[in-house]
């Protein structure tokens, strides 16, 4: 089964916020909630880079680990979703998430902070696919319509890639090898170091 993932190509992102707009429009996301946003590194400095960030649908998701009411679950496609009927809006997931993905509407059942809302990889929620209840709580279920997330499909420069992890990794790898750069900001070298920077790169092992 496919395992859905996002990756943003920092060499291509032009900070147009088209992905943010596509997400807001597709799911009628309320005012004050941004399931996706564009982050610019070294803004204003020559060589600045932007990346589009939302829930990364972690394989070992910290939000799932800290949720006191266990409202998170992972679908067969590897998408991390949550049940808003169980969520109590405590905000633990917000502290645990390294990407700042969990969002909280400013009004709701629990006073100033409502139930958590986040990127669903356009996969809806636990309700029946395409149902009115699912649409109202989580937005549109594009995966069940045979489509990919609106943000990735709308991206003008194809900086934001979304789909089966193997496929998007293959696309990104092809780009990096062809242009001979592009994984410096957001990739293996940044996370684990490079031989040239003094820190030895870990030996590739197949697990």
């Amino acid at each position: 089964m496919a395992r859905m993932k996002f990756i943003c190509d920092a060499e291509r992102c032009i900070e147009c916020n088209g992905c943010v707009t596509a997400c807001k429009a597709e799911h009628a996301v309320p005012w004050g909630v941004n399931r996706r946003r564009v982050v610019t590194l070294n803004d204003g400095v020559p060589g600045e880079r932007s990346i589009s960030v939302a829930c990364m649908h972690c394989s070992d998701a910290p939000c799932m680990a800290v949720c006191p009411v266990d409202c998170f679950y992972r679908t067969a496609e590897g998408v991390v979703l949550h049940d808003k009927d169980i969520c109590i809006g405590c905000g633990y997931c917000s502290y645990a998430c390294p990407f700042g993905a969990p969002q909280f509407p400013s009004s709701g059942t629990f006073g100033m902070r409502g139930k958590m809302d986040k990127c669903t990889f356009c996969a809806g929620g636990p309700e029946a696919h395409g149902s009115a209840a699912e649409n109202e709580k989580y937005g549109r279920n594009r995966l069940a319509e045979g489509k990919l997330p609106a943000c990735a499909e709308m991206c003008a420069t194809k900086a934001l890639l979304g789909g089966d992890g193997d496929v998007v990794a293959d696309i990104f790898r092809t780009r990096v090898t062809r242009r001979n750069k592009g994984s410096e900001v957001w990739g293996w070298g940044t996370a684990y170091g490079k031989p040239s920077s003094g820190s030895p790169a870990p030996k590739a092992t197949k697990s």
Binding site: Y73, E77, P126, G130, L148, V167
Partner: protein, 79 residues
């Protein structure tokens, strides 16, 4: 012998209190929904090229859609 009223009141209280059980506090059973390849059942919004309920055709549609829509090296013929 006790007054029958005490017995009646006692029984009424017993019955009344019997209804005051504690609500279950365990977290509700979480539904995980159905797999995406089951489709929405609304053909008007469903992309063509795959059949609802067929996991293999859904995965293939996802792969083709990703390559065709997001990999311009494929769209431009590798140039």
């Amino acid at each position: 012998m006790r007054h029958p009223l005490f017995t009646v009141v006692g029984l009424a209280l017993l019955v009344g209190l019997a209804a005051c059980t504690e609500k279950p506090q365990a977290a509700g059973s979480r539904s995980v929904g159905s797999p995406a390849y089951m489709g929405t059942g609304v053909s008007a919004f469903t992309a063509g090229g795959w059949k609802a309920g067929d996991a293999t055709s859904w995965e293939e549609e996802m792969r083709v859609r990703t390559q065709a829509g997001q990999n311009e090296y494929v769209r431009s013929g590798g140039r």
